[in-house]
Each structure stands twice: as C-alpha cells, then as structure tokens.
C-alpha cells in the first residue's frame, strides 16, 4: 500500500487520538468522561500497529515521526502509575518496614555495633579517665553541653527555644543526618561507617562526660524516652547505607547494575521508615522529654515502655500470626 492511501485510511483515527490526548493534558477530568477514554487502550494499540507497519514498509519520516510522537504520548498515559493509596503507608509502617529491617538484620547488626560499641566504650572510659573529654571536645562545646544539662536549668536538654521551634529543628537536623547517612553509604559504605562511628563517639563522649561530672541525672532523664526512636532510626539509616555499599562491593550472584537498583529501593524504603521514626522522636523530644517537672518514676516508666514498643514493633511487626498469611 502506498503511503498516501495509508494516511488517507487512518488519518482520522490518529487525529482523534491526538485530540483526546491533548484534552487529557488540559482537562483530565473531562477527557476521562469522554467515550474515547474507554476506547483508548485499543486505539493506542492500533496506532502502535500502524507505526510498526509504517516502519516496515519504509514510509517517509512525515508519517513515522507523527506516529512515533503519538505513540510516545499514548505510552505515557497507558503506563502511568496508579494514584498513591494512603492506606498503603499505614500498612508499610506497621508490617512491611519491620519485615524489611529484619530481612536486613546483618547490616542492621553491623550498624548497631558500629554505633553502640564506641559509644559504650567511651561512656565507660570517661568514668575512669574524665580528663579524656577535653581531648574529644573543645572547651566551648563542653561548656555548651554542661549548660544544656545543668541541674539548675528549668528546661531539660536545651539552653533556649520553644517546643515548636525545637521540633522543627529536630526534624530538619536529624532527618537530614539520617538521609545523608543512608546516601553516603553508596560510597562503598564508607560514609555510613563514618557517620555511625562519629555519632557513636560524640554521643558516648557527651554521656560519659556529663555522667562523670555529676550532671548525669538531667541527661538520662532527657534522652531516655526519645532515644528509643532516634538512635534506632539512626542505626537503621546507617544499616540501609551499609547495605547499599556492600551490594556495590559484593553484588553476589547478580549483575552489579540490577543488584544496585534493588538495594537502592530497599534502602529508600528503610530511609522512609527511619524518617517516620525520627518525626515521632522529634515530637517526643520537643514536647515530652523537655518537661522538667515530671516525676522520675513516670519518666523512666514511659521510657522503658517506649523502648519495649520499638523493639517489639521491629521484632514482631508483620510476622504472620498463628493463622498464617
């Protein structure tokens, strides 16, 4: 069949599809009510067929380019993702996220070790050699820590600022750190290892120093509750980064490219879960931990409860019950 006849036979169909796609861009709701909306997949596949024919028969660019651009637009519409469903977010947090954390338990354990070992070691070391704190921190920073946790300070854990201000600050600061920890894992895991270790040293150093000079009371009262979410989220973000870096180094029995894509998606999910945990931590830190007037029994009771909640959630969330899934 000659090109002119081919165009004459099908041009009307191409025009109507093009017009409908144009309307979909301008007024999506109206276009979807149009009768062509039901016709669309079939019409699109017919145009694909026409394009294949036009290419096979060697028609000129005038026709193939026109069909090509039509097919490109149609492809985008036909294969667009379904709209996000928000109940999936809840299901992710309750079940999928803990499952994912458990599936990556090796990286999580490694991240926890990288963080907690230096922290606990420093905590103990500073009780024996308190002067070592001056090697770790400058005097100005030590003075700042001492001011924040001074037993005479009416507000715990901060030198100034309202609850809302500190909430915004905690979200911005902590979540940015968690995201960077995950992303820097792509540098063969070095970034994640560095951030985890450095944070372990700083937190262990601060805790050890404050305990050694007798300011331990306010410090533990402040951090006990929100650390359940905050430190765990940091470890998870670091573990996600390690997982990414280790996949880059040793993809196993897969090609490096596809293995990296899969690890990247897993890491992004873990980072999103850590983000949710850090928002919760920021709420607790800004509105609960900083209340100075609470009795110790209540404060440490709630802290124990929150730690238990986090561990049970991560340990058992999404596990199939007795009836099985």
């Amino acid at each position: 069949m000659k090109q002119e006849r081919f165009v004459a036979l099908h041009a009307r169909e191409w025009d109507s599809l093009q017009a409908w796609l144009g309307e979909l861009d301008r007024q999506p709701k109206r276009a979807l009510r149009h009768e062509l909306a039901l016709e669309f997949p079939a019409a699109y596949r017919r145009v694909c067929h026409h394009l294949a024919l036009a290419r096979g028969r060697g028609y000129s660019h005038e026709v193939t380019d026109r069909l090509q651009s039509l097919v490109q637009r149609g492809h985008r519409v036909l294969y667009r993702p379904p709209p996000p469903r928000w109940h999936r977010a809840a299901a992710f947090l309750v079940a999928d996220f803990p499952r994912l954390v458990r599936a990556q338990w090796r990286c999580m354990a490694l991240a926890a070790a990288l963080f907690y070992v230096p922290a606990l070691a420093l905590l103990v070391w500073l009780q024996l050699h308190p002067e070592f704190a001056h090697t770790l921190f400058s005097s100005a920073r030590l003075a700042q820590f001492e001011r924040m946790y001074d037993p005479a300070n009416p507000q715990l854990g901060r030198s100034s600022g309202t609850n809302l201000q500190m909430f915004g600050y905690y979200v911005f600061n902590n979540v940015s750190i968690a995201f960077r920890t995950f992303a820097s894992g792509l540098l063969f895991g070095v970034g994640a290892i560095y951030v985890l270790g450095a944070n372990g040293i700083v937190i262990g150093g601060v805790a050890g120093h404050l305990e050694a000079i007798g300011y331990g009371g306010p410090f533990w009262r402040f951090v006990a509750t929100h650390s359940a979410f905050e430190l765990t989220a940091m470890v998870i973000a670091g573990g996600a980064g390690l997982q990414l870096g280790l996949t880059l180094l040793a993809p196993g029995r897969r090609r490096r490219g596809p293995a990296l894509v899969e690890a990247g998606w897993i890491g992004a999910k873990l980072a999103l879960g850590a983000f949710a945990m850090l928002v919760v931590a920021a709420c607790i830190e800004a509105y609960w931990s900083s209340q100075a007037g609470l009795p110790d029994a209540l404060r440490f009771g709630v802290a124990a409860l929150v730690w238990l909640l986090v561990l049970v959630w991560l340990g058992f969330g999404g596990r199939a019950g007795r009836h099985g899934a």
């Binding site: 005038e62 380019d65 097919v71 985008r76 809302l164 990296l260 690890a263 998606w265 999910k269």
Partner: protein, 226 residues
C-alpha cells in the same frame, strides 16, 4: 556514545525513542528549581515571622520540605517534572520509558546527596558524562533517566509535484533515500539540490533543475500521490 537516543521496546512490539538529557540542560533546570525554592522559602517566611520563635520551627519544617520533599512531590504529581525541568522541557522516566513511580523517585532524590558531593554536583557531572544515558549516580541506582520532552523538528513534507514512474526498480533503501532527499529539499539551497541531483544523472538522465524536478516527481510517485 554521542547519540543520546535510547530505544526501548514496548510490550506492543515497537520501540520508543527517548532522548537522554545531558548535564547542561539538567544543571539549568536545577538552577531554576533552586531559585523557585528560595522564593518559596522567602514567601513562607513572611507569614511565619508573625509566630515569633515558634515560626522559626515552622520555617525549619518548610526548609526540610523544600530540601527533600520538593523533588519527590513534583515528580509524582507533575508527571515526572520539577518546575525547573518543566521549564527546560525535561522529564524523569523509569528506564523502561514509563512515568516515574514513587519508589524510584524517592531513591534518586535521596542519593542526590552523593551526586552533589564535591562542591556543586561534581560526582553527578562525572557520572552524566560517563554514562551513555547521561544518568547521575542517583538515577543509576534508582533505575531512572532524565529525557527531553520536546520533539525534535519532524521531517518536512515532500513538496507536491506531478508523480513520475521510476525508470528502473530500486531497492527499499534506495527508495527511502529518494524520499529523504525530497523531504529535505526545502532545507537545502538550490545549488546543493542540483549538486546532489547531478549524482543521479544515470537514473534521471538530466542535470540541474530538470534533475531535481524529476527526483521530486519520483518521490511523489513513491508516496502514491497522483
């Protein structure tokens, strides 16, 4: 390597042609986005300043949203285009040419940190120059790429002329070359048209203007015009 067109076979058995966007238009789009975000932040600060120190906390939240959530929200709701990409005619798509979904979008924007690393997007620049699809590291890990949305100028029409039958049978490639010549004739100078037509003197049997006219006639005949 120089050709940035990537062909993707679709389930319909045809190939999409996606033109990967290089570092320059992407850097321009990023700059537009940066300006847009700065303006948004400033606009947000005006009402927030009424809240005093609490407003500072809200400003931090706004900064967080503009730094991290802006990209993902734009890519999901604006069809794979942040405002800068829209201005420059770029779009993020999955590697199979389908519109970007939330998980790849989150991945590529989290890993922006690594691409931005030494100074301003040093790693990203190196990666886009090395990768055949001009992807930065975040794109490689997320399984996405950035493509041009604007179509290149499509082929010009073959100028109408009375159709002539071919004096001898030609192979499909030779026929396609004839039609291509006729399509592009409008973009060439008359001298160049004649120069090219003179190469085909054994086919047409005439030179210069008459040769060009004959070739246009053959092309019209091949397209099936009267």
């Amino acid at each position: 390597m120089l050709d940035s067109v990537r062909e993707i076979e679709t389930p319909e058995g045809i190939s999409l042609r996606l033109r990967a966007a290089g570092p320059l238009p992407r850097a321009q789009a990023w700059m537009v986005d940066t300006v847009v975000r700065l303006v948004l932040l400033m606009l947000a600060m005006i009402p927030l300043s009424l809240f005093g120190t609490g407003g500072l906390g809200l400003a931090m939240l706004a900064m967080f949203a503009l730094l991290w959530a802006y990209w993902v929200a734009c890519e999901l709701w604006l069809d794979g285009q942040s405002l800068g990409k829209r201005a420059l005619g770029l779009r993020v798509v999955n590697l199979d040419g389908t519109p970007v979904t939330w998980l790849p979008s989150v991945t590529r924007n989290l890993l922006r940190v690594v691409d931005a690393l030494p100074g301003v997007y040093g790693v990203g620049l190196a990666s886009t120059l090395v990768d055949p699809c001009a992807r930065r590291l975040g794109d490689i890990v997320a399984g996405t790429m950035v493509v041009h949305t604007k179509e290149t100028a499509t082929g010009h029409q073959v100028p109408p002329a009375p159709a002539l039958p071919l004096p001898l049978p030609l192979s499909p490639e030779e026929q396609a070359a004839l039609v291509d010549f006729a399509e592009r004739a409008g973009q060439l100078t008359v001298q160049r048209q004649e120069e090219l037509a003179n190469l085909l003197e054994p086919l047409t049997g005439c030179r210069d203007t008459a040769g060009v006219a004959r070739l246009l006639g053959y092309a019209n005949g091949l397209l099936g015009r009267p």
